[in-house]
């Protein structure tokens, strides 16, 4: 039993050293598993939208709404242009899962049932719900793309500063 304990300790120490060494080698933390933020920077940000006025309105020729404005300014901050894809929540979440989309908006709240399939941002504002309660508004990002998620959250913090 003593021997296993020592072995276990040694393994942990080794792994910790290796991790810290790797972390020190100029890798930015947090990073994306699939490099989404790097790809979108100075390129195209693929955004899925589902109609949910006033957050997202797709009745006109171009999508409008509060979240459309937030996403456009985020894309601008990383030098990206936005390509919009309209669809149902289910189809957009599936596209997000297979990496076809980088972001999905449509007035989602913290209570979104998709939270175990996608990464949910921190709530950036409060909004009244149809049942009379209020809930935090969120956007959906791909699982594990933590650089993108963090950059988006920082941008939303900056955009909504002083409003709430």
């Amino acid at each position: 039993m003593r021997a296993t304990r020592r072995l276990r300790s040694a393994a942990v120490a080794l792994a910790a050293a290796a991790t810290i060494a790797l972390a020190g080698c100029g890798i930015t933390i947090p990073s994306d598993v699939d490099g989404t933020l790097d790809r979108a920077t100075d390129g195209v940000l693929e955004v899925g939208i589902t109609p949910n006025p006033p957050h997202v309105d797709t009745s006109g020729e171009q999508p409008t709404g509060t979240e459309i404005a937030l996403v456009t300014s985020f894309a601008g901050s990383i030098g990206a242009s936005v390509a919009w894809t309209e669809g149902s929540e289910q189809s957009l979440v599936q596209l997000l899962e297979i990496g076809e989309l980088d972001l999905v908006v449509g007035g989602f709240t913290e209570q979104t049932p998709w939270s175990d399939r996608v990464a949910v941002t921190r709530a950036y504002a409060e909004a009244a719900q149809p049942d009379g309660s209020t809930s935090g508004l969120v956007m959906l990002a791909p699982m594990g793309e933590n650089a993108l998620l963090s950059a988006l959250e920082r941008h939303l913090d900056a955009e909504t500063e002083g409003q709430s």
Binding site: I29, P30, G144, N146, A147, S150
Partner: protein, 330 residues
């Protein structure tokens, strides 16, 4: 207060027991704090969630010890003629099975997360108006709370050895290994940070295997004692030296031809079954009575002694020796 079962305790033992009780309460309070803090930052990291569950689980042996300590102080009654000493073993078994079940469940979740290739998301959090990556908060918390168990683990180990208490020993042993859990979860979180998604699941698996292993060890140790294995030292590696001392004490008597004993550990108290072959003159009741009180005086843990006067020793020990002797002749 200064009794276990019906027996008064020596001062230093009473002091050690009081220390153990205070220490367990203090550690419970400390663990309540760490559970709260970890819950605030743990987010979606599976390694962090597993470490958090381990924190919660670590309170079970402590609570079991405190309850058992209260129960074993009761004196024996007509309904419970052997006293309540087994409460310690029962508490140990409950703690062991809880660790085993939850550890197995966490192992399964870690493996299924790896198989399904779940990429854990960790975003940012706002701390005092500053936006930071939540992973840094997790690393900081885990690095900070790694120190506690290293200190109280040693203190518990000292008391466990002094009291020869297996439940306390198991508890101390787990506390001393707790730093690997913290280190593991830090590796998992940094792995997520670097975009190495599987490192989190691997760390979670490592931590849950540790819990499972603790469960196996504790269940095994408690079952062995509840099955009346001979009394052993606190880590069950060797027979308790009290065996030899009891046998030697009896064999030295002028009226004794030969003697042997069976001793079982009832948790915090020992039950001695001694067998004595008297010399030809026979044994007097007064001789046997004196021998009993001398054995009780031998060690504070000895609670119950019965001496049986027999014509020939026929304990498993003698039977095994006999068998070996015959095997050697052949």
């Amino acid at each position: 207060m200064s009794r276990i079962g019906g027996r008064e305790l020596p001062e230093e033992v009473e002091l050690a027991l009081r220390k153990a009780r205070i220490l367990e309460w203090a550690v419970l309070a400390y663990t309540a704090c760490t559970i709260t803090v970890v819950a605030l930052v743990m987010g979606n990291s599976q390694a962090m969630q597993t470490a958090w569950v381990e924190d919660i689980l670590s309170t079970i042996p402590q609570i079991a010890f405190l309850i058992a300590l209260f129960v074993i102080r009761r004196p024996p009654s007509a309904k419970h003629p052997y006293g309540y000493h087994r409460a310690m073993g029962v508490g140990h078994l409950v703690a062991g099975v809880a660790l085993l079940a939850v550890g197995a469940n966490l192992c399964f979740e870690a493996v299924s997360g790896l198989v399904k290739q779940e990429h854990p998301p960790i975003g940012t959090m706002q701390l005092f108006g500053v936006t930071i990556w939540q992973g840094w908060a997790m690393v900081a918390v885990m690095a900070l709370i790694v120190i506690g168990p290293l200190i109280y683990g040693r203190m518990k180990m000292k008391l466990a050895k002094q009291l020869n208490n297996k439940l306390l020993y198991a508890d101390a042993d787990m506390a001393q290994a707790d730093w690997t859990t913290n280190a593991g979860s830090i590796i998992g979180v940094l792995g997520i940070g670097m975009g190495i998604w599987w490192l989190d699941g691997a760390a979670a698996l490592f931590i849950s295997v540790g819990i499972l292993w603790d469960g196996v060890k504790n269940t095994r140790a408690s079952v062995l004692d509840l099955m009346d294995m001979r009394a052993t030292t606190y880590d069950q590696s060797e027979p308790d030296p009290v065996h030899e001392r009891v046998d030697a004490l009896l064999r030295r008597r002028r009226w004794v031809h030969d003697a042997a004993s069976r001793i079982r550990d009832q948790g915090q108290a020992l039950h001695v079954d001694a067998y004595v072959v008297p010399k030809r003159r026979g044994a007097k009741v007064a001789d046997v009575d004196r021998a009993i009180s001398d054995i009780v005086a031998l060690d504070w843990r000895v609670q119950d002694v019965s001496i049986t006067v027999v014509a020939e020793l026929d304990l498993p020990e003698q039977q095994e020796e006999e068998r070996e002797r015959r095997g050697g002749e052949r």
